[in-house]
């Protein structure tokens, strides 16, 4: 059975590549590219995009013949798998590109601040309702219920302070305490870091000092990410390049423009069990860096604590 790819992430090779199936999920398969320390993902979805994603959309499609360890290869723009009739035609598929680095979000605008506050409130409510380990408000208020939140709060606050002061060494020390921390194949600490980078990339614009910090921090973070799962490492790598999932990108854009922030927040939070909420936590915190916006909740508190 040959399907046409609905879209392809910008970082996916288009014509020729060799890979091995790394992991199989209900609606996604990760492929480890030969001779490269990164994964690409074949996913069944109506609209969720990834920088490393090959998206297909077909009801009742079965991936049952795919198992970890099987080889996959693309030749002439068609992806095939050993021992499976499934083939995916990559030719002509639209390329999805994350636009977060082009957003130039201005947190000094009232409309942006309002959008941020709406997202922050929705996030905290959802985290409470779903009994999440990490509740964004609590990181700044000291109401730390779970061992995970107790452990992650301090590094998060140090990450904020050190990034504000362009202190790369301290920011990396904080990140090292977050990498691989928490439940999930993309642990909460990783998700917060990914969201945090999304916040920084959203605002950096043409500011060379900020961009330089993000790139230096990212380069070292890629090294630190060897301490987490291979799947999470892939997301971190793309985050350091300014590339994020469509749901996180759309939330960053909604905050930057003030349009559709409620829907975008809900969508971004629904990813996984807690990954979406953790990423949104990181994004909203990241958007508070390098500006003096006192109207944002906790802005003063962040400074006070750190």
């Amino acid at each position: 059975m040959q399907l046409r790819a609905a879209s392809i992430g910008e970082t996916v090779p288009r014509e020729t590549f060799d890979a091995v199936i790394q992991s199989v999920f209900d609606t996604a398969v990760n492929l480890r590219l030969a001779d490269e320390d990164r994964l690409i993902t074949l996913l069944i979805s109506e609209g969720y995009e990834l920088p490393q994603g090959i998206r297909i959309w077909k009801n009742d499609l079965s991936l049952q013949t795919l198992t970890p360890g099987l080889r996959a290869a693309a030749r002439g723009g068609v992806l095939r798998f050993d021992s499976s009739p499934l083939a995916v035609d990559l030719r002509g598929a639209p390329v999805w590109k994350c636009r977060v680095p082009e957003l130039h979000a201005d947190m000094n605008l009232a409309v942006t601040q309002k959008a941020w506050s709406i997202a922050w409130d929705l996030l905290n409510v959802e985290q409470e309702i779903s009994n999440a380990d990490i509740i964004a408000d609590d990181l700044f208020q000291g109401n730390l219920d779970s061992p995970l939140s107790q452990r992650i709060a301090k590094p998060v606050l140090h990450l904020i302070t050190s990034t504000e002061h362009y202190n790369l060494e301290d920011a990396l020390l904080a990140a090292a305490k977050m990498i691989g921390l928490g439940p999930g194949v993309t642990p909460s600490g990783d998700d917060i870091l990914i969201g945090f980078l999304a916040g920084l990339w959203s605002m950096a614009g043409q500011d060379q000092k900020q961009l330089s910090f993000i790139r230096s921090f990212g380069a070292e973070l890629v090294q630190l990410s060897k301490g987490t799962s291979e799947i999470s490492r892939t997301y971190i790598y793309h985050a350091t390049q300014g590339q994020f999932s469509s749901s996180l990108s759309q939330l960053a854009e909604a905050i930057a423009t003030g349009d559709g922030v409620e829907e975008a927040t809900q969508t971004a939070m629904r990813v996984g069990h807690s990954s979406g909420m953790d990423s949104v936590t990181g994004l909203l915190i990241g958007l508070c860096i390098w500006n003096e916006v006192s109207t944002i909740p906790h802005r003063g508190r962040i400074k006070e604590v750190t």
Partner: protein, 165 residues
Amino acid sequence: MTTSQRMIKNLYRDSVSLMQFSEKLHALDGIKQASAVMATENNISLLVEAGLLASAVPPSPNDLLIVVEGRDEASTGAALEKAEAMLKQKSADAYAGEGGVRRVPPAQHRDGARVHVVCQFRPDIHARRVRRGGGAQGIATRSARDDVQRQRQHGGGDPAETLCA
């Protein structure tokens, strides 16, 4: 009380199955706490700090570390055997059986794949949060909470589409 642990190599599961896995593990006779996390250095350190691991084990970030605390060694040993059997059963289901797409109602927002292993189940924390009444942002938060609940009741929004992680 005693604790036991087991490492399962290269195991990736979606969040729904791992949630169910965790609940089943916790419900086993004689088990007080259960945790299943990727065996990263920071997670291992957290488990040691929480008293669920007697001492650090070598990190292995692509493997799943299951830790149980129970009444005695017989309870924890039986729980780990059961855990591994459950995971292997799931593996067979996932890779040779249903295999492909699972559709779950939008209200549960689980369309796919962004995978999550389970954290500890802690009824004490849940109860405390319920008593605390959720968000602490006054009217704005209550309004936002209502929105969230309303969306859930109506199954609003697209299902989350994710990716294995």
